[in-house]
């Protein structure tokens, strides 16, 4: 049975915190709950961004997700 939205969000946060990579593709979160539809995983990840717990990292052509304090931030590196 698929996780509830809140459970899915928790699982996504846990995965983002544990992953050796600071930024993850939305596809990387599919493993958090194989029973959840891709669209549900995407919606949960986007909601975490809305809540300020995660951020989008975009190269311009691709978008990834990261915990706010783990994102690779060019802004501060180049300042």
């Amino acid at each position: 049975m698929a996780l509830s939205k809140e459970e899915l969000k928790e699982a996504i946060l846990a995965k983002a915190a544990k992953s050796p990579k600071p930024q993850l593709y939305v596809k990387d979160f599919h493993a958090c709950d194989p029973d959840s539809k891709a669209r549900a995983v995407k919606n949960a990840a986007n909601e975490l961004v809305k809540e300020g717990k995660m951020v989008f990292w975009s190269s311009g052509s691709t978008t990834m997700y990261a915990l706010k304090d783990r994102a690779k931030d060019e802004e501060h590196r180049s300042a």
Partner: protein, 426 residues
């Protein structure tokens, strides 16, 4: 007064053509950060390497696209472009806007950015080049509240849909490209503004097979107008072209003497399927053989028009050459009605079938066309619940699409091959 010596760039100001270097120099008189664009570009020309970095977490609240972070990797030497973000603004369908609106956008960009624009980017959006992070939110507020414009798509989002001029200015358009482009832009606001997919996804709409937005080469879903019935022929106008009374190609090739119009050489012989002929004074077209190449209609627009039963062809999977070379879209649905009455539901159903499959099965950074190539067209057709038809074949024997399943074969896969060979010698 120039801040950097730019002898290599100065070469690009010579000659009769307009020069982006001159444009940037002119803008730099008002916006000094533009001198650093020239300085950094000159250095790149010398060293043959870019000094731009791109990507990051910059954006406006609630949006996961529309802003692309740009940074110089030499911020100490070129502080004016240390942060120089790009903003994509969703263009109106067919890029219709008043000069007053264009002036307002330029004024806004002079206020919050470098004043440099790219009209339009190859994405279709209006591209505003160069601002800093602290200007993004105020710019976004004014853009949306005062100018009623929105940001476009970037990243793994649905990209800003684009369309040709359509029925607004073109008699050949077989559906209202502006209506569907606008409707789907509004319908899919979440997908345009927030990442939804393994990679980018683009729609483009062309009203006829001339494909003026080049959707067949540039979009994951290409919608190209077509017709089912016969090309409409005005035989009197055909004769007028033959007699030289009408200018061929609408006069587009005037200015040189091409000699008298020769319908055999310039139209009939160039038909890719040889589906046309002159029977005495009558032009005849065998519709079943016509591939809608548009050549005859382009040459004799007063004599020939698309048929009356109009709709569109749906093609999937074009992309630029990052992996495995450039790819044209593959024809999947030869004809579909484009119906504004039911809010384009048939096209929406088709799109969402693709997305449901691609979101589950597409790899990271894999375009739809690459995913189709990986699994094969027959599997994709099965996923889309589309019966294979001869038009799906590129050429005989090169991409077979009929694959028998075990349950469809008498005896399944377990037949006795020795028994079989007794009757069918190898």
């Amino acid at each position: 007064m120039s801040k950097h010596d730019t002898p290599l760039l100065d070469e690009l100001e010579k000659g009769p053509w307009p020069s982006f270097v001159s444009d940037i120099k002119r803008q730099a008189e008002k916006k000094p950060e533009c001198w650093d664009i020239l300085g950094q570009l000159e250095l790149s020309y010398e060293e043959k390497i870019t000094h731009w970095k791109h990507g990051g977490i910059v954006g406006v609240f609630g949006y996961g696209g529309g802003i692309v972070g740009r940074y110089s990797d030499m911020p100490d030497r070129f502080p004016g472009v240390a942060h120089f973000h790009t903003v994509r603004v969703n263009q109106p369908s067919s890029k219709f806007y008043s000069t007053a609106k264009l002036r307002a956008i330029c004024d806004l960009w002079e206020k919050y950015g470098s004043g440099m624009t790219n009209m339009h980017g190859s994405t279709g959006d209006m591209i505003l080049l160069g601002t800093t992070t602290e200007h993004l939110e105020p710019l976004f507020y004014d853009l949306t509240h005062e100018l009623k414009q929105d940001l476009g798509g970037s990243g793994s989002n649905l990209r800003t849909p684009a369309c040709c001029l359509g029925k607004a200015r073109c008699e050949w358009s077989c559906f209202d490209t502006q209506a569907i482009c606008h409707h789907l832009t509004m319908h899919y606001q979440d997908e345009v503004h927030r990442p939804a997919f393994p990679y980018k996804f683009k729609f483009k709409f062309s009203g006829c097979p001339n494909d003026c937005v080049a959707s067949i080469a540039r979009s994951d879903l290409s919608v190209i107008g077509t017709w089912k019935d016969d090309i409409q022929i005005d035989q009197a106008a055909v004769q007028a072209y033959i007699k030289g009374e009408y200018k061929v190609n609408g006069g587009a090739h005037d200015g040189r003497d091409w000699g008298p119009f020769d319908i055999d050489k310039e139209v009939l012989a160039l038909c890719p399927t040889n589906c046309m002929r002159m029977n005495g004074d009558e032009l005849q077209i065998q519709t079943s053989e016509c591939t809608r190449c548009m050549h005859c209609i382009n040459v004799m627009p007063r004599a020939l028009k698309p048929g009356k039963e109009q709709g569109a062809t749906l093609l999937v999977g074009a992309k630029a050459p990052i992996l495995d070379g450039a790819q044209f879209a593959t024809m999947i649905v030869p004809f579909i009605k484009i119906d504004p009455e039911n809010e384009f539901q048939e096209v929406i159903d088709f799109i969402e079938n693709i997305w449901d499959w691609w979101m589950e099965n597409g790899k990271n950074r894999e375009r739809t066309g690459e995913a189709i190539q990986r699994i094969g067209l027959p599997s994709f057709l099965q996923i889309m619940n589309i019966e294979p038809i001869p038009q799906h074949i590129k050429e005989p024997r090169s991409n077979p699409y009929v694959f028998w399943k075990e349950e469809e074969v008498e005896g399944g896969w377990d037949r006795d091959i020795r028994e079989f060979r007794k009757r069918h010698a190898q």
